[in-house]
Symmetry: C2
Subunit: 328 residues, 2 copies
């Protein structure tokens, strides 16, 4: 089976890792069920230019995680990273609120150089992930520049300015994806959706990770026309976001902070798009509310602490998802 | 006293270090002899773009050496350097024949970003050296791009291609400084020469370190009009270059490999420019040949192994040089 996954950063990367390993175990199966493969379509609205370098935080998190190189303690960047270039940049008076490790810096240097050669971001990403031994296809949502901007009490902010520099303290009242109307899906995005036997919306932030991908002109239409069932995994467990500000962003809208609220958000914003919704065992009591939205529900262990957790969740989603009727 | 020094990489940087420390010791002197200071005018014909980054090897060697941060064993780059970004760049398939350490990489990233902002190289260099606590003024010879190209048995090569990548194996038959006719001296270069009480041509390669500086339109005229004596220090000691290919480049021209040959080269190429020439004690017997060219000669210990060696040579040059009559 072939899976297209829509992902932001850490949460999406963890499930992508599980899906990649689970699908690899299906390859060359005894029953000859054909090719198995994963394409991860990644948010690039968070991309930024730092020290003149093109940084794609979500693409890198997905790529490093799939390569088994991501740092688990810190939750971002590379394991065993060193910080000598950053210390020197700081000495030179450069802004260092966005922490770039030495090896991570090489990724941005290489990406920037290849982009400057005229190579599209999707091709550059293909080079980088191949070099890191990543088996899955990793695609930026778009080869065009899209910039997530947030209207806050402190004015309009770029995503990383709000997320990293200001530690998400400013209440967000509006989200915009600048440049989105001129953007198109990156090469391979529509094809991956069209040929998928299952589409998985990863447990990423619905407002700033999933929404930009769905906002790229052509992506929603491709998903609507897809033959594959589309399942979304909750980024909210027991009233909290596992990571990041999704819980606060729900609360700021006056919404309940729950998987049901996320399911409702998807159902309202993208009617008929999602066929199934995956919630955590801790939120099992909420299943009927989500089913009432017309969605099938899978109750699973969605908190992915270990590699085994990731693969187990992925397996549960694959088993359940591929048998789902397409209602969208 | 104020000194303007013309320098390439390692050899020039060592003497610049000595001059800086020796002049600092003269500051606020008991006899009220006024301000003492050093301006180092550095070759940028070796500059290159690597991974999209602007690398200025000679500027950095001078800057790191003056800051006391240069690696002494290796002879280039920063002491205590790490190489993690380079390993990652290699993994990405990038060319890594030019070794960039992690902290050194930050210098190039910062320089490139500031240049991209429209800041001239001389201003960027001023920022970098100030951040590193360098007291001396360090100036690129020009804010304009000049590229040293070498005609070799293997065709025309960029300087670093020949010097680093191909280990100077290709015989050089011609040296060109591309872009030199459109280049001007960087801001401060002519002023430093005009206001100097001594000009020192460091023990750098005459063909590829000193010649490009002197080839920048306006520099030779400024030196010719300078009130200060101009002294050059031999890069050849006992028939060998202390570092780099100056000895081979002399031999390839059919020239003797000796300080006298270098003095003659300067006298022929730049008639009347040099007033005094500094040779090593090991070559003392050659003094009369150099004096016959119309140059005063200082015999000194020119091999600078330790910081003390550097300062001692600088002191000897300052004492002798400032009393020299200007014959040029």
């Amino acid at each position: 089976m072939t899976v297209a996954a829509l992902a932001g950063g850490v949460g999406g990367a963890k499930l992508a890792f599980g899906l990649d390993r689970a699908l690899a175990a299906l390859k060359n199966p005894v029953d000859g069920a054909g090719e198995a493969g994963l394409t991860v379509i990644v948010n690039t609205g968070d991309d930024l230019v730092l020290h003149g370098l093109h940084v794609s935080p979500d693409l890198d998190t997905v790529m490093y995680t799939l390569a088994g190189l991501a740092d688990r303690e810190r939750g971002w960047g590379l394991a065993g990273e060193t910080w000598n270039a950053l210390a020197m940049l700081e000495r030179y008076g450069a802004e260092t609120w966005f922490r770039l490790g030495d090896r991570d810096l090489a990724t941005h240097v290489r990406r920037t150089a290849r982009l400057a050669d005229g190579t599209p971001l999707s091709s550059v990403t293909a080079e980088l992930r191949a070099a890191l031994g990543v088996r899955a296809t990793v695609l930026p949502m778009s080869d065009d520049a899209v910039r997530t901007r947030l209207r806050t009490d402190a004015g309009w902010l770029d995503f990383q300015e709000w997320f990293v520099r200001r530690h998400q303290v400013d209440r967000v009242s509006e989200v915009r994806f600048e440049g989105i109307e001129r953007a198109g899906p990156a090469a391979g995005v529509v094809e991956a959706i069209e040929s998928a036997s299952l589409v998985v919306v990863c447990p990423s932030n619905p407002f700033v990770s999933v929404a930009p991908i769905l906002a790229v002109p052509g992506v929603l239409a491709a998903l609507g026309a897809a033959r594959a069932p589309i399942v979304a995994v909750t980024p909210i467990v027991a009233g909290k976001a596992l990571r990041g500000p999704a819980d606060r962003m729900l609360a700021w809208r006056g919404s309940e902070v729950s998987p049901a609220a996320v399911a409702q958000l998807y159902a309202e914003r993208y009617p008929g798009l999602i066929d199934g919704f995956v919630i955590d065992r801790q939120d099992e009591a909420m299943a009927s509310r989500i089913e009432a939205l017309g969605l099938r529900v899978l109750v699973a262990d969605t908190v992915m602490d270990s590699d085994d957790d990731r693969v187990a969740l992925a397996r549960a989603i694959l088993d359940w998802g591929q048998a789902l009727p397409r209602v969208g």
